[in-house]
């Protein structure tokens, strides 16, 4: 019963996430950028612009120039999240790929960095007057949600171990539509429920910055307006 419920919820959440994010990405890609507006100085070539976006995505280059504290906490959180996600791949694949196994120990410690980064980011929302002013309920709740996911995950590793083998069977079953029982461990259920919430909220929230950063004209456009005309369809006579 419980397993069936969670299985259905996961399919639904995955569908919402895929459709929601896919729809948004489609919109971003479809809407034209009628004028060249890279923040200059900008690379003159597409390859250069791609490298600029890559630096933003991987290193948070602009944020680093802007504010070292936000960069520190934000970058720490995101890198940790990436490692933790890589680590979680082991619950989806069998046999576990070599590089995932290699990242395993880092992923464990990254859990702490993830929580620390989130805590730092959240503290700023209370301690820095300017950021307190711009913070909305959803800003706080998003941090609370992520923090709860992180903490419940860590708890399963360090406080009360869950039946990880059982979980893996459940997850593998989901993928091939062959439902297996889900271990009825409260911590695990909390962790999974919060992840479900995150997936559903994603396409309707500021988490759209993740696809958005790739579509930002001020970053992804090369400075080639002298060489090329960029007439949008709606701007033609």
């Amino acid at each position: 019963m419980l397993s069936a419920l969670y299985a259905c919820l996961f399919y639904a959440a995955a569908a919402v996430w895929l459709a929601g994010v896919g729809w948004r990405v489609l919109q971003y890609a479809r809407v034209p950028a009628p004028l060249r507006i890279p923040t200059t100085p900008a690379p003159m070539t597409h390859a250069g612009a791609a490298a600029r976006v890559a630096r933003e995505v991987v290193l948070f280059e602009s944020l680093f120039r802007s504010n070292k504290w936000i960069w520190l906490f934000g970058w720490m959180f995101h890198v940790a999240l990436a490692l933790v996600l890589v680590r979680h791949l082991r619950y989806f694949i069998e046999p576990v790929w070599g590089w995932v196994a290699f990242a395993q120990p880092f992923g464990v410690y990254a859990g702490f960095a993830l929580v620390a980064g989130l805590a730092g980011l959240w503290a700023r929302r209370f301690l820095v007057e300017r950021i307190r002013y711009i913070s909305t309920w959803s800003d706080h709740l998003m941090l609370a949600l992520l923090l709860a996911i992180g903490l419940s995950g860590l708890a399963m590793k360090y406080v009360a171990h869950t039946d990880i083998v059982g979980l893996k069977e459940f997850v593998r079953g989901l993928i091939v539509f062959d439902w297996q029982p889900l271990p009825a461990d409260p911590l695990l259920l909390i962790h999974l429920s919060l992840v479900l919430v995150l997936m559903v909220v994603f396409p309707a929230s500021k988490l759209l910055h993740a696809p958005g950063v790739f579509f930002s004209p001020s970053r992804n456009q090369p400075d080639d307006s002298r060489e090329r005309r960029h007439l949008a369809a709606w701007a033609r006579d």
Partner: protein
């Protein structure tokens, strides 16, 4: 006419991020455009009955037309990186002048009507109905943004508040809430050919007088030709260059450069204005219409090189948008296939030895350079990234012996706006302009104290007009404001050529 008291904040030794002062600038707003001015540009004269539907329809239209608008409205995470980057916030402390808060004035309406979360959980995500109060707030605070893009440099997603401000102004214009300064001026350009409403006859007279003045001072017949067919170069320059000070000294500088290099050139009465205020109100259509005069004039006069004078936003439009708006430029000399900045032209001549500069002529000056926002962050020069920083500085260094840059966090792409850009160069909002100049004034004070700087060079007509007006509030002399080609013009060797 009631005018707000103009008060300059004290200059601090080190820049300090102000404590929030909510509502500090809530009384600051520009004059509204008259019905006639709005209608001349095809906008409704005043707020129509169905303003709300029209405003939302316009927003919907812009969301379909501009990827920047759509992505930037979604992508902000309220990280706060931009909160201390706007000169208007630093000068006023009004939290609505923090870039993210300014964007949110519009974003909250976008969320309410165009997103799932805002439709169903408005309180949660800070979504709000579009009301007349909201519109009033827009009119105030989207007219406290100079579209300088400094915030976009520091945003992790490159969110450019200028794009949001332009959209907001477009929406306001669509419901008859135009701003007088910009809309009146665009009307003048269409009707007379330049921002100042200077008719061709008066322009010809002005140029003649200038020729006489140069002759008197140098003994050389330096010409300022107007509407001369067959000239090699057509120069498009801001109309302020024709008679405002210190702008006119740069115009004299360009003329001397052309003379010394032996290049035939002309100004155009049809396109006697480089400025293009269409960008300030975000209107593609107006921007294109204003720019089209340049194409027409160039073709009519048969010029083969298109050169733009010292004007910041004009250079952004020329460099980044002209090719798209009024290109292709297949009629230009293939050696100079794109519009050039006058600094690029002079730099090229200098490098080739076609002009000579005597630095000693400027020995009475200790110079610094103010990077103008639209040149620094919205355009380029010389075909290499950052050319817009090195080329003007090369010219200054070749024109004078004493040059000192201001603090690194206040120049190049991190430069601070003069406080009067983006269509805000209007006297009813002088208080805002003075306060917005604070970060630049603090940086200037440092080099004045440390190096005895007595001349701040720049390549923007709005910067020049703004600074001559506001530096006295900070106890600087307005004669320290001037153009790069003013320095070039004072140093250039006329007569004994090549």
């Amino acid at each position: 006419m009631a005018q707000a008291a103009v008060k300059a904040p004290p200059l601090k030794e080190y820049p300090v991020i102000p404590i929030l002062a909510p509502g500090a600038m809530a009384a600051s707003k520009p004059f509204a455009a008259s019905e006639k001015m709005n209608e001349a540009l095809g906008f409704p004269g005043k707020l129509p009955e169905d303003w709300k539907e029209r405003a939302l329809a316009k927003m919907d239209e812009l969301l379909e037309k501009y990827r920047s608008f759509r992505v930037y409205l979604d992508a902000c995470v309220h990280c706060g990186a931009c909160t201390d980057k706007c000169h208007y916030f630093l000068g006023t402390g009004d939290p609505k002048n923090m870039p993210v808060a300014r964007q949110d004035l519009l974003r909250k309406v976008y969320r309410r009507y165009f997103t799932f979360a805002g439709k169903w959980f408005p309180k949660l995500v800070g979504a709000e109905d579009l009301t007349e109060e909201v519109l009033e707030d827009w009119f105030k605070y989207f007219n406290q943004c100079s579209e300088c893009r400094r915030c976009s440099v520091f945003c992790p997603y490159g969110i450019d508040t200028a794009e949001i401000t332009m959209a907001a102004r477009e929406i306001m214009n669509a419901v008859g809430m135009g701003q007088k300064y910009t809309n009146e001026i665009i009307g003048k350009v269409h009707k007379i050919g330049n921002n100042l409403g200077l008719p061709p006859r008066a322009l010809a007279d002005t140029l003649e007088t200038l020729e006489e003045e140069i002759k008197e001072e140098t003994g050389v017949d330096v010409k300022l030709p107007l509407d001369q067919k067959g000239a090699e170069v057509i120069l498009i320059t801001p109309s302020a260059d024709f008679f405002a000070e210190p702008h006119v000294y740069s115009l004299i500088g360009y003329a001397k450069v052309f003379h010394a290099a032996g290049i035939s050139w002309t100004l155009s009465s049809h396109a006697s204005e480089a400025a293009n205020f269409g960008i300030f109100i975000g209107s593609y259509e107006q921007m294109k219409k204003v720019a089209m005069r340049v194409r027409e004039a160039t073709l009519e006069l048969g010029a083969k090189r298109l050169v733009v004078g010292e004007c910041g936003h004009a250079w952004r439009v020329a460099y980044s948008f002209w090719n798209t708006l009024i290109g292709p430029f297949d009629f230009l000399d293939p050696r100079y296939p794109a519009p050039q900045h006058v600094c690029e032209l002079t730099h090229d001549l200098l490098r080739r030895g076609a002009i000579r500069l005597d630095r000693e002529k400027n020995d009475h000056r200790v110079v610094t350079f103010h990077d103008s926002c639209n040149v620094a962050r919205g355009a380029g020069m010389g075909g290499v990234p950052g050319g817009q920083f090195t080329i003007p500085r090369d010219l200054i260094r070749a024109s004078c012996n004493h040059f000192h840059d201001m603090a690194p966090e206040t120049i190049l792409e991190s430069t601070y706006c003069c406080g009067g850009g983006g269509g805000l160069l209007s006297d009813e909002i002088l208080d805002l302009r003075v306060k917005g100049a604070l970060p630049r004034m603090e940086a200037l004070k440092q080099v004045v104290d440390a190096h005895g700087v007595n001349f701040m060079a720049m390549i923007c007509a709005i910067c020049k007009a703004q600074f001559t007006k506001v530096v006295p509030y900070y106890e600087f002399d307005m004669s320290m404001v001037g153009g790069v080609h003013q320095l070039v013009g004072d140093a250039i060797r006329l007569g004994e050529l090549h």
